[in-house]
């Protein structure tokens, strides 16, 4: 069974990502969803939308948040898979349409971490073991073995942060519009070695919305339809206890990518994919994702970073809107925001950061310890 070409994206919207002290989660949901309505030409949502899926890491009240914000009294269900929540929310919408249960479905990812009263992610005390428990610490565990095996270092990570900060300056709704240098990254205060402050994504508030419909109905909507070629998800064993883990990769990405390429019929991702949004929660996560997604050989990221392969002007531009790093990371929204960016790129609506003649676009979320990954591939004919 495959989803390929059964579902089309017909409307996208995104709030500004920022530390939004003066508006709540519901404001952000309204901003993103009404932009998506306008994009899809939807004027009577209660008639034209059949169901809603929503995704948030921090809210346990998704269906209420969304239905109350939109006054949209439809089937509303919450989806959750750590930092892969955004992509998973769109995936649930696609599955519902492909199953023939609904014609047109709204997916909205959002989070409002700045109402929590703490800066950065929490140090969680769930048990007596497994501490410290911060995302930086979990994702940093690849670094020492990877550096030792392949000779990469903090400078290579720094170049990823510099690239994503540059791309962020070109995206109107991004949070950090500031060019930085490799030295800025290397001299920033340490968070969890080898991650300094600039190696970490900027946690912000934000919401992103994606409207999908049956591929054969897409012609009824005003914009050029963007087809879902694949949307997959995979879990891997906990890296802390997996007896076979080599700490040179995140297995969940490899599994999810394998399934996505099979579904989309892709055999040479580096050549076939024109633009990609990768989960750069930390610079190292983007680095290994180049390899785990099969774009390049394991261990060769350092050379490709030096060559500029993944820069906006390179062979395969990655994180064209600045990524989690500088566009911002409202956890539940990020995967949906990536799909918004890929749709804009495929329609040629990405402005100053437009990748020329983009026909096939990939997006990738990974979360947990990390243990869960979701991948989407969108395309235009």
């Amino acid at each position: 069974m495959s989803l390929k070409d059964k579902v089309a994206v017909v409307g996208v919207g995104c709030s500004k990502f920022m530390e939004n002290w003066t508006s709540g989660a519901e404001d952000l949901i309204v901003d993103a969803v009404f932009e998506a309505y306008a994009d899809a030409g939807i004027e009577d949502a209660n008639r034209q939308i059949d169901a809603v899926f929503c995704g948030s890491l921090y809210s346990a009240m998704g269906p209420v948040d969304v239905s109350e914000a939109l006054k949209l009294y439809k089937p509303v269900s919450a989806v959750y898979n750590y930092c892969a929540t955004g992509t998973e929310t769109v995936r649930a919408a696609c599955l519902a349409v492909a199953a023939g249960v609904y014609d047109t479905v709204l997916a909205v990812g959002y989070d409002k971490p700045k109402d929590r009263g703490v800066s950065g992610p929490p140090v969680t005390f769930r048990g007596s073991r497994d501490l410290p428990a911060t995302p930086a610490g979990w994702f940093a565990l690849l670094a020492a073995p990877y550096f030792a095996k392949f000779g990469a270092g903090r400078e290579d990570l720094a170049k990823i942060a510099v690239k994503n900060h540059h791309n962020g300056t070109l995206a109107p709704k991004s949070f950090l519009k500031k060019e930085i240098t490799v030295d800025d990254v290397l001299n920033a205060r340490m968070i969890s070695w080898p991650f300094g402050l600039y190696d970490c994504a900027a946690q912000t508030d934000g919401a992103a919305a994606v409207i999908v419909t049956r591929a054969d109905l897409a012609k009824n909507f005003p914009k050029q339809p963007v087809l879902v070629k694949a949307i997959t998800s995979h879990c891997s064993p906990h890296p802390h206890t997996d007896p076979d883990h080599d700490f040179l990769r995140w297995k969940a990405t490899e599994y999810a990518a394998r399934d996505a390429y099979k579904m989309a019929g892709i055999d040479d991702p580096f050549r076939q994919i024109d633009v990609a949004q990768l989960h750069d929660c930390f610079t190292m996560t983007e680095l290994v994702s180049y390899e785990d997604l099969g774009f390049i050989e394991k261990g060769s990221a350092k050379d490709h970073i030096a060559a500029g392969t993944f820069e906006l002007t390179g062979e395969l531009p990655v994180n064209t809107d600045g990524g989690l790093k500088s566009f911002g990371h409202p956890t539940g929204a990020s995967g949906a925001r990536m799909i918004v960016e890929n749709v804009l790129q495929l329609r040629g609506e990405a402005g100053a950061r437009q990748v020329k003649d983009a026909k096939l676009a990939l997006s990738h979320n990974i979360g947990g310890y990390p243990t869960g990954c979701a991948v989407s591939i969108l395309g235009v004919e």
């Binding site: 005390f125 410290p132 883990h245």
Partner: protein, 469 residues
């Protein structure tokens, strides 16, 4: 000593807190090259963890399944209601049938614990007894007690076979006196005027019980291990007892400090390390009276338990780090109250958290924490429990986390491959200045991990293996 069976000390161990604090650092100056210092339990240590350290040094490879009684003496256990010995028994992998006893409230608890254990073994009620005495002395900021206290633990295995020193006499005197105290809820030790407490709380009762001991047998050399509250009192008691200075076991006031209930026991361990057969060791501890124990050394062991743990030393380099480690800084807004780790989860995970127990599948795959389904063969419930705390391990990967609340961030954390065991994610402590290195050999120590719910939460950390040199 009229025992039914001759009982005594079979083996001993000691743990002196590795961190050392000099009065200069307490005064806000740089640490001097040398000079007096006190042992300081760090943020991840307390009387329980120090007792576990001392116990492991004492037990080494000895069988633990013949220990029928565990006695834990301290004045500084984290709970007023809830036993410490029961927790320690799990950490040490003792049988669930072991009798566990806490002795609290008095600086004299150490000698009482030794006596109680000896009685139990001598009467045949217990095959072996393990006695652990630990204390962590915290004086109010700026007080003399702040710099003269010390944090340490001593452990003694009491039995009837392979005895190194048998108990030959004892004497006790009880006395009601308000000399040194902590009320319920007090953090700091308080005391009455020094000259009063030294004479009536320490010197008089100590001399009185010492006088009750029989005279030295024949020409036996007798040395004295005495729990004087400070260096000066130590010297004055020697005079009162009319013993030569070289008969006094060195008091460790400039290296460890006065470590409360653990002090006389620590000096006893130190004396045992270098004792000759036939020698007598008199142990005198004060506190609400005093007690004296007389041991006759049966077998010289020529060990260095106390000297070794004193030699393992990390100086505290700033007053700020000390204040953070012992939570001496006031904060206007304490952390939001919470229930902490669920008591039901804590109960279910006791073996995993407190004795680092995992399991091995019948297919051979070791796992930690315990699972229902094997990650290797996929079978359900085919596991045998296995303890990993006494194994060694190597470092597979790590990070240095600056976010985790700690007195001196960053906190090293990594995945450790246990020898012939699973991978375990835990904190790495005691790293050299150069930091961690992949593949470095590690051992495990029992520590306080965090204080969620305002209770101590215990688990294990990995420490670099001691170099063999």
């Amino acid at each position: 000593m009229a025992g039914i069976i001759d009982a005594g000390i079979v083996d001993w161990g000691a743990y002196v807190a590795t961190r050392r604090l000099s009065p200069a650092v307490l005064a806000g100056r740089k640490p001097p090259e040398s000079g007096p210092e006190r042992a300081l339990a760090w943020a991840d240590e307390d009387s329980v963890t120090m007792a576990v350290d001392a116990a492991r040094a004492c037990l080494k490879d000895r069988p633990r399944d013949t220990i029928d009684l565990l006695v834990f003496a301290t004045t500084t256990y984290a709970f007023d209601e809830k036993q410490g010995a029961a927790l320690i028994a799990v950490a040490l992998g003792l049988s669930g049938d072991v009798r566990t006893v806490d002795i609290g409230h008095s600086l004299r608890g150490g000698t009482e614990a030794l006596l109680l254990a000896n009685d139990a073994v001598a009467s045949g009620r217990a095959r072996n007894a393990l006695v652990l005495i630990a204390d962590s002395r915290l004086g109010a900021p700026g007080s003399a007690l702040e710099s003269s206290g010390g944090d340490a633990a001593a452990a003694f295995l009491i039995g009837t076979e392979g005895v190194a020193a048998k108990l030959t006499a004892d004497a006790t005197a009880s006395e009601e006196i308000v000399d040194v105290w902590r009320r319920n809820g007090d953090r700091f030790v308080h005391s009455w005027e020094d000259r009063f407490t030294t004479q009536y709380g320490f010197e008089d009762p100590s001399a009185a019980v010492a006088a009750k001991l029989p005279a030295a047998a024949g020409d036996a050399e007798r040395v004295w291990a005495v729990s004087a509250p400070n260096k000066r009192a130590y010297g004055s008691l020697a005079k009162a007892l009319k013993v030569r200075p070289d008969q006094m076991v060195p008091g460790l006031y400039d290296t460890v400090g006065y470590c409360g209930a653990a002090h006389a026991p620590l000096l006893l361990a130190s004396a045992l390390d270098t004792a000759q057969a036939g020698q007598e060791i008199a142990v005198v501890a004060h506190g609400d009276g005093a007690a004296a124990l007389l041991y006759t050394v049966v077998e010289a062991r020529g060990s260095s338990a106390v000297a070794d743990t004193i030699a393992e030393r990390v100086p505290v380099t700033s007053q700020a780090a000390y204040r953070r480690a012992r939570k001496l800084d006031l904060t206007e807004y304490p952390v939001a109250d919470d229930q902490g780790v669920s008591a039901t989860i804590h109960y279910r995970e006791t073996a995993e958290d407190i004795r680092m127990q995992g399991q091995r599948c019948q297919c051979g795959e070791p796992q930690f924490p315990k699972q229902r389904v094997c990650i290797r063969c996929g079978q359900k419930d085919q596991f045998t429990d296995e303890d990993f705390a006494e194994r060694k391990g190597t470092l597979l990967t790590y990070t240095l986390d600056a976010f985790f609340p700690a007195p001196t961030p960053p906190t090293a954390v990594g995945v450790v491959l246990v020898d012939n065991g699973p991978r375990i994610y835990l904190q790495i402590a005691g790293l050299p200045k150069e930091g961690p290195t992949l593949g470095m050999p590690l051992r495990f120590v029992f520590r306080r991990i965090h204080e969620s719910g305002k209770r101590p939460n215990y688990f294990w950390k990995a420490l670099p293996e001691r170099s063999s040199s």
